[in-house]
Amino acid sequence: MSAVETPRFSQERLEEIQALVARYPGARSALLPVLHMAQEDFGYLSLDVQRHVAEVLGLTLIQVREVVTFYTMFREQPCGTYLMEVCTNASCMLNGADRLVRHMCDKLGIKVGETTPDGMFTVTEVECAGACGGAPVVQINNEYHENVDEAYIDRFIDEARGKGGKA
């Protein structure tokens, strides 16, 4: 995860990417899945990572950049060990999502979009997560937590801190 070395996919990943490309009429189609892999492997999509992805798929940097900036799941900046994405769209709002966001921010001493100084938690608001029957919904590192309340968040944060910052 260190940003010092130039990021490179592992040999295993490269083979996976090759197999993936073969499933589409054109290599460019593999861009979104490969960016997901890159984000998983390198934490976020720095310009270096984007250059590497372009090279691996035989695309121009601009073709990669326009996709990275279009889609909200792709991040060009690092985030906390725990990325907590609260859905505040209609059904979650009707079930107290705004109160939940305020509670999380107060507890962590940050504003929406910020990361705690120890680099552990980032809180963001997101659009409908497609799980409104379990509102309010919080995605933590891409895992769905449903019917979340303040006590649940408190427990989660305390336990995460107890683990000393490892996700």
């Binding site: 009429p25 593999a30 979104l32 889609y71 009707l94 497609g130 799980a131 409104c132 509102a135 891409n142």
Partner: protein
């Protein structure tokens, strides 16, 4: 088991959804999955399948309600180009969460439906475009697909019938507009998801400019039952012009939110009171958004409306994706509208001026109104902007953005006026 008497049918897609481990091939097969597939591949012609689909009266469950059999019949057969089948699993319309349950609890139902659809359309390569956030659901689908390949239900020469189809799960990355079928195609080509001008329609020129059919998860998951029991059987379920069952995703202020599949024609009131345990406060809802956040609002006046395509239009709205958001008397409709306006402003792809500018205006004015700072004149601009966005753009996102604002102004003029700066002061 789905009854062969159409009058006895109460659910189709969810028939096996509560069976533990139904996501595993072994269990799914023991409960009838893929049972009828060999008959379809060996004995049905593509023409017969399309004919049964037309007879079935099935209409697309993704939102637009377009007749599925008719859509399939538009695909040209002699272009010399491959035909692609894309399953729309983007599920981004606020309030909608039905496709997720099919995919995570009964993925083989979707896969079977896609094989049958693919066979009817002479498809070699099919894709499931699933919203990026559904990572777990994508993993479940991938596991189910691995099992299906191992059992020769997918891949080369399926079950020795000579038909070959490959199926790939493709994750999006967070963009509501990619649920629009031409934006989905752009996205699947590795580009930003900006909707295309139509015509040409995807059936003629879609994925890599080849004939392409895009269908919603629930639509495709209905195919196996239709082919097994026949188009006439399906047409006899539900009511005229709204055949079959429909999954309704109910959320908001009800006691038991969740997905409920019921025969079309069931009333909104029955769904909310008998299935969802009624409202949290009061006896009638203040607002019901019946088909996802992009559809016009209904109020208490329409509480007994039958859930059908036609009755929804008569009531001034749309059945949409079947996502019902219920709001009780405690709801601040101005705040909800402001939140939805933010959503559309955030999700507009920016290609069309009325949408790009209009969604921004709506959000700014709604923020002002919510804060008690809007004037009479602001209200006029708000209503004007909303009225002029709809119908003038490449895709329907702009119409969806206008719907909540116009609904709020229409149904709650007094509440809105009470928030104006003169009154609020």
């Amino acid at each position: 088991m789905i009854p062969s008497d159409p009058k006895q049918v109460t659910q189709i897609c969810f028939d096996r959804i509560r069976i533990p481990n139904q996501r595993r091939l072994e269990v799914a097969r023991a409960n009838g999955a893929y049972r009828f597939l060999p008959t379809v591949l060996n004995e049905f012609t593509p023409e017969k399948i399309i004919d049964e689909m037309k007879k079935s009266g099935l209409r697309g469950r993704g939102g637009a309600g377009f007749p599925t059999g008719l859509k399939w019949s538009f695909v040209p057969r002699d272009t010399g180009k491959p035909t692609y089948l894309l399953c729309n699993a983007d599920e981004g319309e606020p309030g909608t969460f039905k496709d997720r349950d099919i995919m995570r609890y009964d993925p083989h139902l979707l896969i079977e439906g896609m094989i049958m659809a693919g066979f009817a359309l002479n498809v070699r390569d099919a894709y499931i475009y699933i919203r990026g956030e559904f990572k777990r659901e994508a993993e479940i689908l991938n596991e189910a697909i691995r099992e299906a390949y191992a059992a020769n239900l997918l891949g080369e020469n399926i079950l020795g019938t000579g038909y070959t189809m490959h199926l790939t799960v493709h994750r999006g990355a967070g963009a509501y507009v990619c649920g629009e079928e031409t934006a989905l195609i752009e996205s699947l080509e590795g580009k930003p998801g900006r909707p295309r001008y139509k015509p040409p329609f995807p059936a003629v020129e879609g994925f890599y400019r080849c004939p392409t059919v895009v269908n919603n998860v629930e639509t495709l998951a209905t195919v196996p039952a239709i082919l097994e029991h026949g188009g006439d059987w399906h047409a006899a379920i539900g009511v005229q012009n709204s055949a079959g069952c429909k999954i309704f995703s109910v959320s908001g202020h009800v006691n038991k939110p969740g997905n409920y599949e019921v025969p079309m024609g069931t009333t909104l009131k029955t769904l909310i009171e008998e299935h969802c345990g009624g409202l949290r406060h009061g006896s009638v809802p203040k607002v019901v958004i019946p088909g996802g956040s992009s559809t016009p609002w209904l109020t208490a006046e329409h509480y007994e409306v039958p859930l059908t395509y036609d009755d929804m239009v008569k009531a001034g709205s749309m059945l949409g994706s079947g996502a019902i958001i219920v709001m009780d008397e405690t709801t601040d409709v101005v705040a909800v509208t402001r939140r939805l306006s933010h959503f559309y402003a955030h999700e507009s792809c920016g290609q069309c001026t009325p949408c790009r500018e209009g969604t921004g205006w709506l959000e700014r004015l709604m923020l002002k109104l919510e804060a008690g700072k809007a004037t009479e004149q602001d209200l006029e601009v708000l209503s004007d902007a909303a009225e002029h966005m709809a119908g003038r753009t490449i895709c329907a996102l702009a119409d969806g953005a206008a719907a909540p604002v116009l609904s709020m102004l229409k149904h709650f003029p007094d509440e809105v006026r009470a928030r104006l700066v003169e009154k609020a002061a």
